[in-house]
Assembly symmetry: C2
Homo-oligomer: 422 residues x 2
């Protein structure tokens, strides 16, 4: 790459950062009504320009097929009328949600008379880095606009026509609204160099949110100097205690593994208490195998036909497919140790009728969401009742678990005095 070209690209990214930052200052002043109106305008514009969007999306799909992209990736990339209608509908739903900005979180008075108030404010500029799912372009924009933020989008090169089309449609809608067009910026240069630069754009970005596979997230975490909201990786467990109800345990283990194996809150290892295993491990293995699940088991599980040998690697693997690891443990404590050693602190479930075991599991398992007698598949902003989700945080700072609108806000102290000095 020539030095001149590099300079042009850098300026272009910085220019987008600068515009987003200026737009963020305006966005912070927008009323809830103005923001909601803009979301409805975007929703309508998406439907109005449907033909254009689907045409541009088709270019990406064709290019993907030409490059040998897998059908599951093509499926994530592809838009059609019904998917676009869903995206447009989601925008109207976000418009209905409560606006967290301006909410008074705390109020108190100090002995010296200072009136203290803590309120929610927008984060500022949110950087989104994601893979070939064009719906994220609209989802992320809508959640950021609703919370008074500006957003800088960096999607995959394989979705670039779709993303350019969607952002141009968003801009057409914003032109009719009170919101600044610059509040939604798309980085059209999808080179690695520009992504690397985005990771360190501390002057313009307040947070980076990577959405995608483990590799993408690891790259962002390892290289970013902008604060990162880490999302995604889920090596989740279902632990079946000795007193677990048999039908319930089978039903939950199957659901957690097979209902949608490609997502982060699906189950990757089933841990089974020795006493339950003695009676019912065969049933569990049968049920999983009948659903086409390939099983990697410890010594005890290997006594059943078709169970492969689980290695250390299996305990740490997020299969994201119809595979599962199975291990028999002697106590709830052993299950907890296994989870805290190999888990990714995402979602963990105990199936049990023993209060002591449940309490121990709730207290000692270190994860964003800990379940008793329910499937791990509920870890999701919609299932939690947040009405929206920007991702599922697997870190402990700022937000943990499903992130709804408040995760896109910060706080500010407003302090009213009458001449106080220290």
């Amino acid at each position: 790459m020539s030095g001149v070209l590099e300079t042009v690209q850098k300026d272009s990214l910085i220019e987008k950062g600068r515009k987003a930052k200026a737009a963020a200052a305006i966005m912070a002043q927008m009323t809830t009504a103005q923001k909601d109106e803009a979301l409805r305008l975007i929703s309508a514009q998406l439907l109005k320009e449907q033909e254009f969007i689907l045409g541009e999306n088709e270019k990406d799909v064709q290019a993907g097929r030409g490059a040998g992209m897998s059908e599951s990736l093509i499926d994530r990339l592809k838009l059609d009328e019904s998917r676009l209608a869903e995206i447009a509908s989601a925008l109207r739903q976000v418009a209905e949600l409560k606006d967290p900005v301006g909410e008074v979180l705390e109020q108190w008075e100090r002995p010296n008379g200072l009136q203290m108030e803590k309120i929610r404010v927008p984060l500022g500029v949110v950087g989104m880095i994601y893979e070939a799912r064009p719906n994220v372009t609209v989802d992320a924009s809508s959640l950021c606009l609703k919370t008074g933020n500006a957003v800088v989008l960096r999607g995959s090169s394989t979705a670039i026509h779709s993303n350019k089309a969607l952002v141009s449609v968003i801009h057409h809608a914003l032109e009719k609204s009170a919101l600044p067009i610059d509040a939604v910026q798309l980085i059209e240069d999808t080179s690695r160099e520009t992504a690397a630069q985005m990771f360190k754009l501390n002057n313009y970005l307040d947070v980076l949110i990577p959405r995608g596979g483990a590799k993408l997230i690891q790259t962002v975490v390892s290289n970013a100097t902008v604060p990162v909201l880490e999302t995604g990786a889920g090596n989740c467990h279902v632990y079946i205690d000795d007193t677990a109800d048999v039908d319930m345990a089978l039903k939950i283990a199957l659901n957690a593994k097979t209902q949608r194996p490609s997502v982060c809150n699906s189950c990757e290892t089933v841990l089974v208490h020795q006493a339950w295993a003695d009676q019912h491990l065969g049933q569990l293995i049968d049920a999983l195998q009948q659903q086409g699940v390939e099983i990697h088991g410890d010594k005890a599980a290997q006594q059943w036909d078709g169970v492969a040998t689980a290695t250390e690697t299996d305990w740490a693997t997020e299969y994201l497919g119809l595979e599962v690891a199975v291990k028999v443990v002697d106590t709830t404590g052993e299950a907890i140790d296994h989870i805290n050693t190999y888990g990714t602190k995402h979602s963990e479930a105990i199936i049990s009728e023993t209060d002591d075991s449940i309490v121990e599991f709730f207290n000692k398992v270190d994860a964003a969401a800990v379940y008793h007698n329910a499937s791990t598949r509920f870890t999701d902003g919609f299932e939690f009742g947040f009405g929206a989700e920007i991702g599922i945080s697997t870190q402990k700072l700022h937000a943990r678990g499903p992130m709804g609108l408040p995760a896109l806000t910060s706080t500010k102290y407003l302090i009213r005095g009458n001449g106080q000095i220290k």
Copy 2:
């Protein structure tokens, strides 16, 4: 450095991380009573081993003097009976504070019957990186222990004797308590290599908190892959509006600048509305100069004797001493733009009797703490009534402004079901 030595050091740091992580799991289970008892034991042990601590501290002070350390740094490094008594007293005060761990933040039920609960939990392992202030060794330990965390301390090489002594005394006290000794780890190897390694110790540290000068903080932010809680830098402003009460404005500007110029919440630039300046700028400059403050002024301020020319650099400088920049502005909006351009989003004050100006300032200034008719010097965990402070966050994620005990916690969702699947 030989390869072998390097390996030994690396193992040692990882070993400390591993021990801290194991201790964190135990710490999360400790009751408030057990934690408070440990803090009181540490307080007593510090006084009991006072002679040993002061002797070791004297070694650092002598070495510092020998190396030509400035007297202000020596003053920060030096411990004496009265300072040690203050440190011991602070420990007992932390023991009296409310324990945030276990607090139920939200509770709700989903239509499918899932019982949702969001509670506060410890962060896990906190990494502290700080300069030659041995009191931070004890303060940080006490706040981390109170919140059920383990802590890995990395102080300055120039305070290494003091820090080793203090941590050994903490360990003596912990031996008598229910808490694990390993909950407080000191990195004795203060090389840059080990610090660089600590920045990337993601497997063992949940957060890094740098405390010290801008350079230290910048180094951590630029190099860490562990999430960082950024603290410290404060380029704070006092804006005197046209309707500001003259006495109040003078009193607050002087207080914010001179009461303790070396701290982050002191004022670095005074912005003055043209109309107020016409009548009172001379008084303000006189008052500041009488307190020995060197003034860097814009054209308007330069009309007074002894006012140096302010450059672009002055607007961005955190003097941390008896220097101030002064600028005359035409409107509140111009003051806000100046603050949002040059400020560090820490503490900003408006002195005014005009409601519209105050509302505009509160709405548009992007900072952790915004004041009306009060000094910026109140931005502090104690002045806010938190009873403790781990630092003042200048970032927008997780915690903003003075960080009390809750900033050292994360959350966890506990979900109770009766067989729910998706």
